[in-house]
């Protein structure tokens, strides 16, 4: 087996004095789609924030291509090839749709994604390119957020609750586009409330419970009982 592209070793994460993650171990192979599920407050978002550098951790607890990035700055980690689609989209309201995408391309990394390939993936954004990003519908905003992350041609893309607050039909569209997005050898970590969605798109799944890994397995093989036990801690 090749070296994992991303490895967490006993990751502890804190918000001030509050500890949100306890000794999380995780390995991610290059090109795989990994789902992370768990109840609210289980530490899913904290996990993504730690990987992306928004929370500083002990350096050796997060290895990216063998390099310790646990204490790295978010902009350095982004430039190294880890992009995030943040929860709630968080577009830049004073920037137009196209400017939001261009900001994503600032890392200057080479790859298949640029303005024209993003517009090909989401044609509606081409029509709306000069509008304020806040004038778009929720689903379109999510497309901008995904496009913005892709523009940096990342090796790993982190999706934080991409279906949150969107209509089911929109969620279906976005998940339908997912294979095109991660098809090109990109690695994806998907944090998702919708467990069946998460399991259907991913190869492997981790479940977090109160800051600890409570289940790890192949998405097609874990049973409902295992998941509900891992989710709620019932024995």
């Amino acid at each position: 087996m090749p070296d994992p592209i991303l490895a967490l070793h006993g990751l502890d994460a804190f918000y001030g004095d509050f500890q949100a993650l306890y000794g999380v171990d995780m390995t991610v192979e290059e090109g795989e789609i990994l789902a992370i599920i768990g109840a609210n407050g289980a530490g899913k978002t904290t996990l993504l924030r730690s990987i992306s550098g928004l929370i500083r951790n002990a350096p050796e607890q997060i290895l990216y291509r063998g390099e310790a990035i646990g204490a790295g700055r978010p902009d350095v980690i982004a430039t190294a090839g880890i992009a995030m689609v943040p929860e709630g989209r968080q577009l830049f309201p004073s920037l137009s749709v196209e400017e939001n995408l261009m900001i994503g391309g600032r890392t200057g990394r080479a790859g298949p994604w640029n303005l024209s390939s993003i517009y090909k993936l989401f044609p509606i954004l081409d029509e709306r390119r000069h509008q304020a990003s806040t004038s778009l519908s929720g689903g379109q905003q999510q497309m901008v957020a995904i496009g913005r992350a892709l523009m940096s041609n990342p090796d790993i893309i982190l999706f934080d609750e991409i279906s949150l607050g969107l209509a089911p039909v929109i969620i279906k569209d976005i998940y339908a586009a997912l294979p095109n997005i991660v098809g090109a050898g990109m690695t994806a970590l998907i944090v998702e409330q919708d467990i069946s969605k998460a399991l259907s798109v991913s190869a492997r799944v981790y479940c977090l419970q109160e800051g600890r890994v409570s289940l790890e397995g192949r998405s097609q093989q874990v049973s409902r009982e295992e998941i509900s036990r891992a989710y709620f801690g019932a024995s």
Partner: protein
């Protein structure tokens, strides 16, 4: 005719106030930093201009070739070394630190240049005027006003047409996500302060040609700048120019009513606008 003259002279004076305000507006817009030392940095620029003029025997406007990059570099270093450490959820530390910086700059200027009023010698430019109908317009105020328009147009261009401006706006909108896009917040803030102090350099040198100055006048320049920003509306650079003009016109019209009424008239205008439109006339961002 006296009133028309007051309004025209006040408008031109407003150009200088807009230059005081532009740097203040820029750094507040990008990093929500209220720089109490801004007025003293204007005065520091005037002194740097004076020293350059005296040492090299050049015209004050030519001294800008040196003063502008020096102030910009000073701004970058100041931001990276000191001010970035004060920024966070709490708004008090940057206020206290820039207040301290204000005191330090004033006292350093006092030590270096004494408390005696100084003035830069700009030769014929100081007294030259052109006649427009019955009005005599000073060339220096006209030039100042023109520079203010060029500076604001330039800042506007940087903000809305360049990659740096996109980075400024994105960082201003959401610092966390901007970092996720690979933007180094500390560096972006440093560049914003560099740009702000480059404008401050222009404002300071023009101030030093127009009037005599001493180390203690920074506070009043800060107030004029603040008032122009607030009148015009936060985050709107053209609004800041309008704010500067309204403040300038209020002062000159006030002075035409009674010489002692000049400054008070400006403050009253400011307070009235603050009471009626707390976000200013043309707000673009909310506090």
């Amino acid at each position: 005719m006296e009133w028309v003259n007051a309004v025209v002279q006040g408008t031109l004076l407003g150009g200088l106030y807009a230059l005081f305000a532009a740097g203040l507006s820029l750094i507040f817009g990008v990093m929500r930093l209220v720089n109490i030392a801004h007025g003293d940095l204007i005065v520091l620029s005037a002194y740097l201009g004076l020293t350059t003029t005296v040492a090299l025997g050049v015209h004050p406007l030519l001294a800008l070739v040196l003063v502008l990059p020096v102030m910009a570099l000073f701004g970058y270093v100041l931001q990276r070394v000191l001010l970035n450490q004060t920024l966070g959820q709490d708004i008090l530390p940057p206020l206290l630190v820039t207040f301290g910086l204000s005191v330090i700059i004033q006292n350093a200027l006092l030590e270096t240049y004494t408390a005696d009023p100084q003035k830069m010698d700009a030769g014929a430019l100081e007294t030259a005027s052109v006649s427009v109908g019955p009005l005599a317009l000073g060339v220096l105020p006209l030039l100042t006003f023109g520079i203010a328009i060029v500076v604001i147009a330039g800042l506007q261009f940087i903000f809305y047409r360049t990659a740096l401006g996109r980075a400024f706006r994105a960082t201003s909108d959401n610092q966390e996500v901007a970092q996720l896009m690979g933007l180094n917040k500390a560096h972006i803030f440093g560049l914003a302060m560099a740009l702000a102090l480059a404008v401050t350099a222009i404002a300071g040198v023009l101030l030093g040609i127009r009037t005599s100055f001493d180390p203690s006048i920074g506070g009043a320049r800060l107030i004029f700048g603040f008032e122009a920003v607030i009148i015009g509306g936060l985050g709107n650079l053209w609004g800041t120019l309008i704010g500067g003009i309204l403040l300038g016109v209020s002062q000159t019209v006030g002075a035409a009513i009674s010489p002692g009424f000049q400054l008070l008239a400006g403050h009253i205008t400011f307070l009235v606008i603050l009471a009626l439109r707390p976000n200013g006339l043309f707000p673009r961002i909310s506090g």
